[in-house]
């Protein structure tokens, strides 16, 4: 009965036809209503936690006036950005962010790859597992704890370096937490200690996956260990190296906040060499309550960061489509 009616209507006119197809579509949706409902909490979460703040970026273009309310405040155009880029800070945080993260990517890659290759050479399964656990341990620890570990090393009056190591070498104690020139060396060291283990495990997993026959053939041909590493291991795990590295390059504008905030103990004397965009935004917002500056820096980070992800992905696509993220 209903079907006959539908057919009748469908033959009337284009406008009418629309009415008929719509309920059919709704029927299909109704079939999936439970699945849509299941997704609702998660989708709602992303709308609140991720999409609303994206629109909230307009704050950076406003002259914030709390009496009027945030969204009702007057437009300021690019004034907040002009102020931001006139400060010396803008240059310092950009330089620090890129130089630190750039060097982390390179240093971690070399260290993690080297350790993964060495670890793979270990014959004893038990020892291999043992080393793996130890290397991965720092990755599990929160940055607050890392801050304590570094403090135990560097504390002015009681640190291991100032009290035990430096006197042995006949060097005067150093005020690590107030001399900024040492931190471009300390931070990469701490970072490598904390995160290289993770990368190492990832690389190791892909090295283990390489077919043993390649190595057997190479040994028969008389290739030594070094030649095998260079012409079998590294070429075969290059896709994984590429993915991991490009993921990091795409995020080069975002720093490990804890590393730059906790580890230098939030010391003001070190800002020249420890302030990055993330810590700048945090301090401007929480300590100074300067919404104009912090939101301008935040938008700067989001836009450039997004551009970098897209470019990194574009390059990956050019080289090897399968490795691209999207």
């Amino acid at each position: 009965m209903k079907q006959a009616e539908a057919v009748k209507r469908q033959s009337v006119a284009g406008k009418e036809r629309y009415r008929v197809t719509l309920p059919v579509r709704w029927k299909e949706y109704r079939k999936y209503s439970v699945l849509f409902l299941m997704m609702a909490p998660g989708l709602l979460y992303f709308i609140i936690n991720n999409y609303l703040p994206m629109f909230g970026m307009v704050i950076a273009f406003k002259d914030i006036n709390f009496a009027k309310g945030i969204l009702a405040s007057d437009w300021a155009g690019f004034k907040n950005f002009e102020y931001l880029f006139k400060t010396r800070d803008a240059w310092i945080i950009t330089r620090n962010t890129i130089l630190y993260n750039g060097s982390f990517i390179i240093i971690n890659l070399i260290a993690a790859l080297a350790v993964a290759i060495i670890l793979n050479e270990v014959r004893s399964k038990l020892l291999k597992k043992f080393y793996q656990s130890f290397i991965l341990l720092p990755y599990l620890i929160s940055m607050v704890i890392v801050g304590y570990l570094v403090y135990a090393m560097l504390s002015m009056e009681t640190g291991f370096l100032n009290k035990s190591l430096l006197p042995m070498l006949g060097i005067e104690p150093i005020a690590w937490y107030s001399e900024s020139k040492y931190w471009p060396f300390i931070l990469p060291l701490v970072n490598i200690w904390k995160t290289a283990g993770y990368l190492c495990i990832v690389y190791l997993a892909s090295i283990v996956g390489i077919d043993k026959e390649y190595y057997e053939a190479a040994t028969i041909d008389g290739a030594n260990k070094w030649q095998q590493i260079r012409s079998i291991t590294i070429p075969l795990i290059t896709p994984v190296i590429m993915i991991m590295t490009l993921l990091q390059i795409g995020r080069i504008f975002y720093s490990d906040f804890g590393l730059f905030y906790q580890v230098p103990l939030n010391s003001g004397a070190l800002l020249d060499t420890t302030n990055v965009i993330d810590t700048y935004v945090f301090r401007a917002l929480i300590n100074l309550g300067d919404i104009a500056m912090s939101s301008a820096a935040g938008v700067y980070q989001s836009i450039v960061g997004f551009a970098l992800v897209v470019v990194a992905n574009f390059i990956t696509r050019k080289i090897n489509k399968d490795n691209a993220l999207f």
Binding site: L35, M38, M39, G42, Y45, F46, I48, N49, N50, P53, M54, G56, M57, A60, V115, L119, E121, V122, S124, L127, Q132, S133, F134, I135, L137, L140, I141, S142, M143, V144, Y148, V150, Y151, A152, M153, S155, T158, G159, F160, K163, W193, I201, A205, K225, V240, I243, F257, G258, Q262, L265, N266, V281, L285, I286, S295, G298, V299, V309, V310, F326
Partner: protein, 295 residues
């Protein structure tokens, strides 16, 4: 040849042993310094071997154990509640996405994936949670921002559902007259325990280690998690001496062993994770390598 190979193994093992040592030496420095007497620390600094063993720092902490227990309580509550909620929301979101017949699944997947590429930054998030939701100084401030902290987990779970749960199983469930929800929790979830365990483990570690949300959303120290307490003690020199360790005023004049108490609290904060590490290490390694491959 044999001798050469053996020498090579010795060399490789020596290098790895050295690296492994470097990974744990800082922890040894921490623990050993926390059980040294304050006077020794003042004289000789923190060292890898305690010259004069003393548990005075731990005794002081025991006197004010309430604060530590409270912080532990917050951490455990947040970790358990956060992980359970996170797993529930993540799996409920990932399952429909994994269904080939789900309408608009590509658009929905992109909607989720896009959050990994672009975000609004700290300021709008902070204003949203403090001005509109009034999360400041509530336990939700520690749970909500990290619920789906990484859209990657949703993607990994979706891929797992897609590759390990045969469509026939779901179809046969439908034939038997089971609704979508029933299929999900009677068939899909029991078959997906490995991925639930892996992501649950990661979220547990994320929640346990989180201090950032406490740093920006909490001013009330009663809600401090163990990480926030540690963070405050480390960065605020005054904070430790303002803590009441049940000492009389003249004891305070003599001076709290602040340098050792500081480290002892850090030891108490880090021990649980190191203690259970050997048991979950296998899953952890597996999860890391799964996460690295495209989800």
């Amino acid at each position: 040849m044999q001798a050469k190979e053996r020498a090579y193994q010795w060399f490789i093992n020596a290098v790895m042993a050295l690296l492994a040592c470097m990974c744990i030496l800082p922890f040894i420095l921490l623990v050993s310094s926390s059980i040294t007497s304050q006077s020794m620390i003042i004289a000789n600094g923190y060292s890898f071997l305690p010259r004069e063993i003393s548990f005075e720092a731990y005794a002081y902490i025991w006197n004010d154990a309430e604060r530590i227990f409270n912080a532990y309580g917050v951490t455990i509550l947040v970790t358990v509640l956060g992980t359970v909620l996170s797993l529930a929301v993540t799996s409920l979101l990932a399952y429909p996405l994994s269904r080939k017949d789900m309408p608009h699944r590509n658009f929905l997947a992109f909607f989720i994936f896009f959050t990994m590429l672009f975000n609004g930054g700290l300021v709008p998030v902070y204003l949203l949670y403090t001005q509109f939701f009034e999360f400041k100084n509530t336990v939700w401030a520690l749970i909500f921002p990290m619920l789906l902290t990484n859209a990657f987990y949703v993607m990994i779970m979706r891929t797992f559902f897609q590759t390990t749960i045969p469509v026939e199983v779901i179809e046969s469930g439908k034939m038997d007259g089971a609704g979508e929800l029933k299929i999900f929790y009677k068939i899909v979830l029991p078959l997906s325990l490995p991925i639930l365990a892996t992501i649950g483990l990661f979220q547990t570690i994320n929640y346990w280690n989180d201090w950032f949300n406490g740093l920006i959303f909490l001013t009330d120290s009663r809600l401090y998690s163990i990480q926030n307490l540690l963070n405050r003690i480390l960065l605020d020199v005054q904070y430790l001496s303002s803590m009441d360790f049940g000492t009389a005023q003249d004891d305070l004049m003599a001076g709290l062993p602040t340098e050792t108490i500081r480290l002892a609290i850090a030891v108490i904060g880090v021990i649980p994770i190191i203690a259970i590490y050997p048991f979950f290490q296998r899953f952890f390694v597996k999860g890391l390598t799964v996460g690295a491959v495209k989800g």
